[in-house]
């Protein structure tokens, strides 16, 4: 039951994009096509899961430990360490992706390295730390937060692909209409409030 709450909460109720408003940059940036959005969400799920696991481990075992009778509290290093880990992860993904799927790499463009500074990834690490989740809980939470991001960007990209064929007034073409759509989407997600 606890895990159900954790997952439903991460995917629907506290959706990273549509409820917490984190990770908006790639949400808007790579949602023009469903295929690239799926590639991006794959990368984000991967990074968030791994980053959650590693940062939770670091937070629990590396930032607070006792050595030779002295207790060290390195909490001030938290952000620094988290960014280090995330940056390294993203770097690895980038290298792998460039080799395995050059087309996707091209399509994701600048947004791939930008996952490093993606507030969603750092956000999930910080939220984990704040809630003091165990490594397993943090991994699950991270993974499903990523799934939540994936769900949001998948819905959004399919809507945008449809909107591309619509004929909005000139002033609303492109990003404005996308932002309005994202707003209405967030409204729909409001309905899930209180599920857990």
């Amino acid at each position: 039951m606890k895990y159900l709450e954790l997952t439903v909460g991460a995917v629907l109720v506290y959706n990273f994009v549509l409820s917490r408003f984190l990770g908006i940059c790639p949400f808007l940036g790579v949602s023009k096509r469903v295929s690239t959005a799926m590639g991006m969400s794959g990368a984000v799920v991967f990074v968030m899961t791994l980053a959650s696991a590693i940062t939770a481990a670091i937070y629990r075992y590396l930032l607070h430990f006792t050595l030779g009778g002295v207790t060290y509290d390195l909490g001030f290093l938290q952000v620094l360490l988290f960014i280090l880990v995330i940056a390294a992860l993203v770097q690895i993904i980038e290298i792998v992706l460039q080799k395995l799927s050059p087309a996707l790499y091209q399509a994701l463009g600048i947004y791939l390295p930008l996952i490093t500074t993606n507030c969603a990834v750092l956000g999930v690490a910080t939220l984990n730390a704040k809630a003091n989740y165990s490594v397993l809980d943090a991994t699950i939470f991270g993974c499903f937060s990523g799934v939540g991001f994936a769900l949001a960007i998948l819905l959004f990209s399919s809507l945008r692909e449809k909107l591309e064929l619509a004929t909005p007034p000139k002033a609303f073409e492109g990003t404005p209409i996308a932002l309005v759509t994202a707003g209405i989407l967030a409204m729909a997600f409001c309905g899930f409030a209180g599920l857990c």
């Binding site: 390195l74 290093l77 360490l81 390294a88 770097q91 690895i92 290298i95 792998v96 460039q98 091209q106």
Partner: protein, 280 residues
Amino acid sequence: MSGLIVSALVMGVLALVLGTAIGIFVKFFKVKSDPRVELVLELLPGANCGGCGCAGCADFAKAVASGKLQPNRCPVSSREQVNAIAFALGVDPGEGFARRAVVCCSGDKYQTQMRKFYNGAIDCAAANMIGGGPKGCRYGCIGMGNCAHACPFGAIEVINSLAVVHQELCVGCGKCVTACPRGVIKLVPANSSAHVYCNSPEKGATKRSLCHGGCIGCGKCERAYPDQFTKTGFLASVNYEAEKLPGAEEIEAIKCPTGALASEAGHYESEKNAGKGENK
């Protein structure tokens, strides 16, 4: 003090581990890429118009970096930008290549007879498949703006059912040329300023019955300036390879009887003002 050392140590060890991991991945997954492609891509305008003949700027950058094409093939880049690319790669920028598009038709809805009632999709290609749209002439501009939609630079305006190119915005990418189902749009040297605004090879009398703006092949221009104009059948054309391209004074001197031969500015003005007199 020990806190400082421990934190430095923690950071250091972590950095080392992660650095090693990245190093290992690089070893297995590294893709060789030409850094010059990135460089050229950065210097290109990024309009992805396809005017160079490649599929987008990235393709063109690859072609330039590998020496297949010369940097000046990009119609959008200014001379300075082309030179910058050439300088960065250490290659020859290539001869001047600038072109502009011209819609060779003056049959706006006041000039040409709107003889066919057309009912259907507002799209030149679609209209062309059904009896050729609302205008009588089979060779002229249909005026539903496929070229205007295709133009990435917003350089084409449809005035009174006739597409007119704004020369100051046109870069000569040629997208409109492919978009036009009739082949009315031609690419001409950028420094030319006078054109024959007619595309119909039909007989003068037939043309005259369909459109007041068409070239009737009177040959006045060819007689006056044989180097700069050629007449084939009933259609005069500007000889764009001539030493000196015709300008305002030649136009003034010839006084084309139908106004098919006009300077760019004059053509635009007359289209802009067409029909205003009739409304009054």
